[in-house]
């Protein structure tokens, strides 16, 4: 398969780009931040996303979605990255929709998937606990209790956790932290007794929450997939999410780079455009090359996720590691080359730097994924 977007995928990109650039330029995020918006995203815009079929992009057609794949999810994420639009797309339409599609019972799928596709239900994946992304180190305890379980523990960096109508909670039902066996996914009502949700205002003005679970009772019906066998489903879902976040970072990097090159051509010092200085030309050229190579690596991973999800791990590790390193370089060069203006809140460049830092931590940073690749290659 050529490492290019198909005609249909290009059309999807164009329609996503049109919608997002019209309705959610960076000023949209700035406004949500400055007004301390309660939701942290635009519900109206999410309804439009649903009407255009984006909310149900990965939901099977039998449940009212489009039944599309990783490449299409990446296409939308890349456009989100260009304007930093806060959106439930990642948590609801990618991570949660994929988990429910892959592991949900028939009843669970019919209950939740049509609502996700219709934009009526927001969901969040409650996974990380420590400072760094370590899925197998999940310690939130699921202890058997009657026919069900009792959940005890705490989650952090739950994207959209404060607005979600449904939580997908990763818990340890057996084994010790670090072990692959013994993880179970639960579908939990955020209003259930014993749950406390604290919205955490993050550096990038996007949505996240800390959630504590104090003897939260769930029944066997709330288990998503197999008890103790959650790691397999989770692995595939996280890889899809990593491909999606990597795509967002490609969009972010390219946008920040485009703005920076435009500034190099426009800003004059010593009587000429600063883009005439070779010291800056070579750095800009190097950054361009890094971004193009990362774009190829990310598309490679997305195509692999669609063609052979189980064999995509290495390609995904490469993509997320590259995207992290590239976006970090892009925003650093972006601020530096904008000089003093790059340090001002009035200029948008800083927003990109902040979002890149969060994307880097989401679902594993460049170090995590480089180490994953080393492990996969046996050294």
């Amino acid at each position: 398969m050529p490492l290019l977007l198909t005609e249909e995928q290009s059309m999807l990109r164009d329609s996503a780009r049109g919608l997002i650039s019209d309705h959610a330029p960076v000023a949209h995020l700035r406004k949500l931040r400055d007004s301390r918006d309660e939701a942290g995203f635009s519900r109206e815009l999410w309804a439009t996303f649903a009407e255009m079929g984006f909310a149900g992009l990965l939901v099977p057609e039998t449940h009212g979605g489009s039944g599309l794949g990783a490449v299409e999810a990446g296409v939308v994420m890349e456009e989100i990255g260009r304007t930093l639009m806060p959106s439930p797309f990642l948590a609801t339409a990618v991570l949660s929709a994929a988990a429910l599609t892959r592991a949900g019972s028939a009843a669970q799928q019919s209950e939740y998937l049509p609502k996700i596709a219709g934009g009526a239900l927001l969901a969040a994946l409650a996974l990380d606990e420590g400072a760094k992304h370590r899925p197998l180190h999940t310690a939130l305890q699921a202890a058997r209790s009657g026919n069900g379980f009792k959940l005890n523990g705490a989650k952090a960096m739950v994207v959209d956790g404060h607005v979600a109508d449904l939580l997908l909670v990763v818990a340890r039902s057996a084994g010790a932290a670090g072990e692959r066996d013994g993880l179970t996914l639960f579908l939990v009502d955020p209003k259930a007794k014993g749950i406390a949700i604290e919205r955490t205002i993050m550096v990038d003005a996007h949505n996240a929450a800390r959630i504590t679970f104090d003897n939260v009772e769930v029944t066997a019906d709330h288990v998503l997939g197999d008890v103790d066998g959650g790691a397999a489903v989770l692995g595939g879902v996280l890889d899809l999410g990593r491909g999606a976040v990597a795509s967002e970072m490609v969009g972010l990097s390219e946008e920040v780079f485009g703005r920076t090159v435009a500034y190099l051509k426009e800003r004059k010092q010593f009587g000429k455009a600063i883009g005439e200085f070779q010291a800056l030309q070579h750095r800009a050229a190097h950054l361009y090359i890094e971004i193009e190579i990362t774009r190829a690596a990310v598309l490679k991973a997305l195509q692999a996720l669609d063609a052979d999800p189980a064999g995509a791990a290495a390609a995904v590790a490469v993509a997320k590691a590259r995207a992290g390193a590239t976006a970090t370089r892009a925003v650093q060069e972006g601020v530096q080359m904008h000089g003093g203006m790059g340090m001002t809140d009035q200029f948008d460049i800083g927003f990109f730097m902040k979002r890149a830092r969060v994307c880097e931590e989401l679902l594993g940073d460049a170090n995590y994924h480089a180490a994953q690749l080393a492990q996969l290659r046996g050294y």
Partner: protein
């Protein structure tokens, strides 16, 4: 799609049946490369068998037209052949500047007669070519070259000197940039000409490099008589041909570090450094550097694949091969730094059978030229800045 699946199955089966097992092992010495040419010798029987089978199949250059000895394959099919060869670790049957550099320029600019004369001898490995571009005073500023070709009836008389001519001492023919109009602006008076290295007045002198080897020569032209019919493209428009060829050369150099089918670098490092109880390389920082290298190498491979696909779809940027040349050569230098670091003191031996006559340190030193030959990294970045980013004054 179904046709391509069938083609893939047939290709796999043919390679399985025809590629000798010895030709599926990573190359370990210079002798493992077959270059072709009038004086070519095969270093082993499997090498001969593999080359001849591929030649007869048209697969020394799968995507060239059949009439010139190519395979007549389209881009997708040629990609499948590459992928299936990589899957079994099959070596290239021949390494040839005729294939990777001159051929694309001949196909684009050659007359029918020139194509019929030269292309079949390239696909069959009969003629080995070298490239006469750089001169002592024309390196990064290549267009300032001074080797002159003066008109004399139906011929040119060529005088001057080239340098860094790869394997000129083994080559049968040269493709060469010469100044045919000294009065014109520097880019406008250059012609691209082909001639036989056995012509009277041609001499070569190998240059000893820091690797202790001599892959490059100085090449001297003393009143060399060459027919005007040997000019490729238009007289005084040789710079267009040169630039077109450089795109292919740079794409080739960017892929020089690719090691299809060989062991991961981290495992090679583990041979000398050792592993801990979890099987991790017993040097955390080296492991991290190698892992980061592996990430970048895999990403570059994807970018190389995408560059070919973009070109096929006519969406590629002609200067992008400069981007790939820059990144690929810098990456290959990193690979060899890591190999040296992994080998420790074992990688320092220069002369011994144990070290294959210092193969590792010599290869390490050789890679330092990667970011100089075919245009320095700095020139590549300048081209990207000017032609792709459109930065002012670049």
């Amino acid at each position: 799609m179904a046709d391509l699946d069938t083609f893939r199955r047939e290709t796999r089966a043919w390679l399985e049946a025809n590629c000798p097992p010895e030709m599926r092992r990573p190359m370990t010495s210079d002798e493992d490369t077959f270059w072709g040419g009038r004086n070519a010798k095969f270093s082993s029987e499997p090498q001969r068998i593999w080359f001849e089978r591929m030649r007869d199949k048209g697969w020394t250059v799968p995507h060239w037209p059949r009439e010139y000895g190519g395979g007549g394959l389209d881009g997708e099919q040629a990609k499948i052949v590459r992928q299936e060869m990589a899957a079994i670790g099959a070596r290239a049957p021949i390494t040839s500047f005729g294939i990777s550099m001159l051929g694309p320029a001949l196909l684009k600019y050659g007359t029918d007669e020139q194509k019929r004369e030269h292309l079949p001898k390239i696909t069959a490995g009969l003629i080995r070519w070298c490239q006469g571009y750089s001169e002592p005073n024309a390196g990064s500023d290549l267009a300032s070259l001074q080797t002159r070709a003066e008109s004399d009836g139906d011929d040119y008389i060529i005088n001057g000197q080239k340098i860094w001519t790869s394997y000129a001492n083994y080559a049968d023919w040269i493709f060469c940039l010469v100044r045919t109009d000294p009065a014109a602006k520097k880019h406008d008076g250059i012609s691209f000409i082909l001639f036989d290295m056995t012509s009277k007045g041609v001499s070569t002198k190998p240059i000893l490099l820091i690797s202790g080897r001599s892959p490059f020569c100085e090449t001297f032209f003393d009143n060399v008589r060459v027919p005007k019919a040997n000019v490729l493209g238009t007289v005084n428009r040789g710079w267009d041909v040169a630039k077109y060829l450089l795109q292919h050369e740079r794409a080739m150099i960017s892929g020089m570090g690719e090691r299809g089918g060989s062991r991961p670098l981290g495992q090679v490092a583990a041979d000398s450094v050792g592993s801990d109880a979890q099987g991790r390389l017993d040097d955390a920082l080296l492991r991290a550097e190698i892992a980061t290298f592996d990430v970048d190498e895999a990403a570059l491979a994807a970018a190389a694949e995408r560059m070919v696909d973009l070109a096929k779809a006519e969406q590629g940027h002609p200067a992008f091969s400069s981007a790939m040349k820059y990144y690929g050569t810098e990456l290959n230098k990193r690979r060899h730094e890591l190999l040296m670091s992994s080998g420790g003191i074992d990688a320092l031996e220069w002369e011994s059978e144990r070290s294959s006559e210092g193969a590792r340190p010599r290869a390490w030193l050789r890679t330092k030229a990667n970011s100089i030959e075919g245009g320095t990294s700095e020139v590549m970045l300048g081209i990207v800045a000017k032609r792709i980013l459109d930065l002012p004054g670049a």
